[in-house]
Symmetry: C2
Subunit: 393 residues, 2 copies
Amino acid sequence: MISQSMYALGANRSCIRELFEYGLKQAQIVGKENVFDFSLGNPSIPAPDTVQEAFQSLSAQEDSLAVHGYTPAAGCPDARIAAANDLTARFGVPIRPENLFFTCGAAPALISVVRALAVEDAEILAIAPFFPEYRPFVEQNGAKFTVVPADTDTFQIPVAGVEKKLTPHTQGIIVNSPNNPSGVVYSRENLAALAELLTRKSQEYGHPIYILADEPYRELVYDGLEVPFIPAVYPNTVVCYSYSKSLSLPGERIGYVCVPDCAADSEELFAAVAGAARVLGHVCAPSLQQQVAARCAEIRPNLEAYDRNRRTLYDALTAYGYACVKPNGAFYLFVRAPGGDAQAFSDRAKKENLLLVPGGDFGCPEFFRASTCVSHDMILRSLPVFQRLIAEY
Amino acid sequence: MISQSMYALGANRSCIRELFEYGLKQAQIVGKENVFDFSLGNPSIPAPDTVQEAFQSLSAQEDSLAVHGYTPAAGCPDARIAAANDLTARFGVPIRPENLFFTCGAAPALISVVRALAVEDAEILAIAPFFPEYRPFVEQNGAKFTVVPADTDTFQIPVAGVEKKLTPHTQGIIVNSPNNPSGVVYSRENLAALAELLTRKSQEYGHPIYILADEPYRELVYDGLEVPFIPAVYPNTVVCYSYSKSLSLPGERIGYVCVPDCAADSEELFAAVAGAARVLGHVCAPSLQQQVAARCAEIRPNLEAYDRNRRTLYDALTAYGYACVKPNGAFYLFVRAPGGDAQAFSDRAKKENLLLVPGGDFGCPEFFRASTCVSHDMILRSLPVFQRLIAEY
């Protein structure tokens, strides 16, 4: 008499988590320096000084109730104002504090939007490769989950492929750029083509198809590349953000939903997001973390370490003969597995204590993901193993 | 094409929140000292020194990633160990760290258990008076919500009333003691009678009926009263806890679900709670707050101020002729409205800038709730208004 779907979701460990724990165990046997763990997408650079100082000075404040008390459900005014001002200044789309709803990170942000859109027979699309949690997030919150197969040559959005999956029940499409796992940033042209399609089909179906822009990696981008702000390209966009990666605060659960005024029915949608958050158990985002976000809205991460890792690993792997689209963002490489079966290749690599995530759950079973939010030394030590492995194929 | 149930939940403000905001507005017109706001259940005493010191010393730690990084989904080992040890030492029911799943407060804790039990046609009972959010928490997470009418003479659990509402589909009953809004602590005898009933009906139906013990007020109890630990009385109990009230950290969103080994199918249920949390958007409870909880598991609040408020307000109101069961816990008085219609009485009081929550949403429309987590001065200033009002009836 226990929900079997919930049991299955709780009992079946994620492959990523299992690899990570295998790595910890192996480190005790063969030594930490002989395990090459590329499994987790866990920031490896410390939080910026300003962020750490904000935690310290807020914690030292006299008025405990002001620091640790309830905030309004949508967030404390300071955090909403600071984030709205920062977005408006950077992206040229006017964002008001009232457009922002602070959440315990990007996961409940995204799920709140899914539930807000989960009318009868609702369908939500995701584009492969995609973060595997999207599937349970959508399927267990009232909508059908539909996957658009990847364009494995570029990992840009396959717009013709999206068109094939659209139906009159499509309520939204999740767009994650910079992308986990590919590290690719969708180009403005690519997004404009998607926008053209969605505009046309929204008219045809007689209701808006929303983009759910999942943007935890928005600030993690290299080579001076621009990450287009999607509401500027397609107005019916809801942005889900997290400070986890940009401020290296993944455990602190602070992010927001932004429903801009330009989105169709934005007030009604915002209210529905608030209602959905409520039945997910949201009371407010952690108060201290909100106040840190209020003080640090304009802080950007120092990406030097991630960038060096990205270049070192990309250059070495492609030199050895691995095929990989060069990532411009996030902290992952998504590499075609020699032999074409990423599960088999990952299993083989595991025997060398090289831990790579096979791409099946991401919707691309021929690719593996290697995180570059690791130590540079570990990358250097791992290179001979990568070289040896491809020589076997 | 937006979910109308989510919209309604987001657009319809809670009556408590509206009263509170009305009070803020009136304060600007008539002066803060002339508004008597008894609406919110918001801790009014600062966090204990040890708690504030824990925030400060953790925030000052060198290793930012250790403080702010992801923890395992169920919580960081230190927090689970500290809470398990504290529970075991106090209540004599062995609790292991593996029985605890840390959450962003009591709301997602309770909802995770509801979803874990939400098999087809599942029913969850609540006993009036009850926290109004229970209704959307249950109804929007896959189960039918059934209310057991209150025993308004004592506000103890009306065991015969519970029996009338049990069906073969009953999966659980929410038990909230000390109770919001009545402030009553259910006695051991009362809980034993409920346990006897649930044991008998579980056997009859062939499946366990769980108690969902919602215990954010567990440490807020007066007159040296004992709050029975429900798993010691009825093994099939899952405890949902929050540090919001006990450590005066309501905005910080830190609590846990405890599935003790003595509960039926405890391992399966724990996994289902973890799976449910996942699809509610749980990644981990805020990392810094978990570490504070780890250091402060044995800290109890100083209740002097709440206790003085409780006695002052209870003594005065009963002296004026109001009827009220004396609360032994939490920080509320639940008072029979003169005239028998709490909505009408609350509206009348509002004209005097005395803000009281009518009990309709709590399942008791003849009673109003007055929070005692307020300043003692405000209580003293409000007393003539209470006295004047009852004289009208």
